[in-house]
Amino acid sequence: MSADGYLEALRRKGRIVIVGASLAGLRAAETLREQGFTGSLTLIGDERYQPYDRPPLSKQVLLGRAAAEHTALPRHSALNAQWRLGVAATGLDMSAKRVRLADGEEVEYDRLLITTGVRARPWPHPQEVELDGVFTLRTRDDTAQLYRRLAAGPRRVLVIGAGFTGSEIASACRERDLPVTVAERGAAPLVGALGSVVGEVAATLHRDHGVDLRCGVMVTGLEGDPAGRLRCAHLSDGSTVDTDVAVICLGATRNTEWLAGSGLGAGPRGIACDAGCRAFDVRGIVTDDVFVAGDVARSPHPLFGYQFLSLEHWGNAVAQAEIAAHNMISASADRRPHLWVPAFWSSQFGVNIKSVGVPPMGEQLLVAQGSLTERRFTGVYGCQGRVIAAVTFDQTKWLEFYQRLIESAAPFPPSFRTVDRRAEGLEPVAAGFPDPSLPTHGPTVTVSGYSPTDRRITFTPAHA
């Protein structure tokens, strides 16, 4: 059969299976139907629910402005799909083209799309997680439980980790007038995503809203009372926080364990794929019938030195799912690359934080407009003499302009005279990202070097 004939048959009566029934999976399914795929479509999801939207969970849902169970995503079009919800995929046989499910069934495919995303990184001490009052926030059910507990009026809420989710939860708790302690291992909130200069602004937001923010500390243990209820948390600086609620916000970990041994290039850092969303196998050869999209994917981006980026962004899930779906049912010459410029938003303490590009690649930061002290500014990140990212605090309208600078590899520092440029924005400063090769907390000994003669032991003292 000719390649064209195969493709035509695939589009008409092929079997497409999507593992992962959240934002990326749903958008891919819709795109397939919109582009004329009339074959059988199966969506497999480990949660019991129809695809729902996660960003509201840490914002309006915790504030009581929307219900956790009312976050289902709207549909563009009728899907006519088979839904296998509440049953996880547990294995993949690439040569037989079959997905194994937790209930023992197997589903055959002609083309497979993997959109299994990420889950909340668990607390490292399982017995402490069992304590009543210890939560994580990733799913609808997580949020419903946390919401009920917040509504009951706890004495204090301890948020462990001041990334975006942790900061948004702290913000919602303060808005509900609950006492909040935030424990962050790094030097400031959001420091990994936006660097320490912007992180310091985030720290003032926390403190001005009454958060007891503690940076440079780790929570070393959670202690319960005899009835199994959380009583207090122990911190690495020797202090103790009396609290009856702890929310663990340690970032996310990728859902790839089910692919172990499948031969697909999947691991803790995600599933590597090409710019056209085709997955690599462990040999580094690109597959023809397995595609990846969303948080679990890791794909090379031409704008950022062809680095393999994995982006846990809402917009990336949508854009990559659409590209993957298109490519799954297109001939090689008609396939499109995923060239989306990374972008995300967060709202916390009444401030709208948005970003484009890849801030952690930035070496320097220039406050091009506004002022850090006013918490209304546009920060531009530079890397090797070009604009690589931008962040705005309540200055969304300028962001698109900076996105074009990123896309056109404009020089850094920008040569133009902007409106509203202040003295602090005349010279770039170090963006202040933590060195990824250094531990963020506590003294550590590391060994480096390969041959026995140049092995070296380095002692890194504690930062704080």
Binding site: A66, A81, W345, S347, K397
Partner: protein
């Protein structure tokens, strides 16, 4: 009625908060909070808000595309 706002697109023009204040509210100067499952009595206001949005960031579910109420785990929708 299900809806979602692409907050990457949203630039805080607040037209929706004027046209459908029971569904969309500004939180601070720029951040938008919305009810992802607005009451059906708000359909006309939400439609107006979606139309008026200068950056077309509001996606409202087409009534025909809405899946029926929850059924078993193996249904076709």
């Amino acid at each position: 009625m299900r809806l979602v706002v692409d907050l990457n697109r949203c630039q805080g023009y607040a037209q929706c908060a004027f046209l459908a204040p029971d569904v969309f509210t500004m939180h601070g100067d720029e951040a938008l909070l919305y009810d992802p499952h607005a009451d059906d009595t708000q359909r006309e206001q939400v439609r107006r808000a979606a139309t008026a949005c200068p950056v077309q960031a509001i996606l409202v579910e087409d009534q025909d595309a809405a899946p029926a109420s929850a059924k078993g785990a193996r249904d076709v929708r």
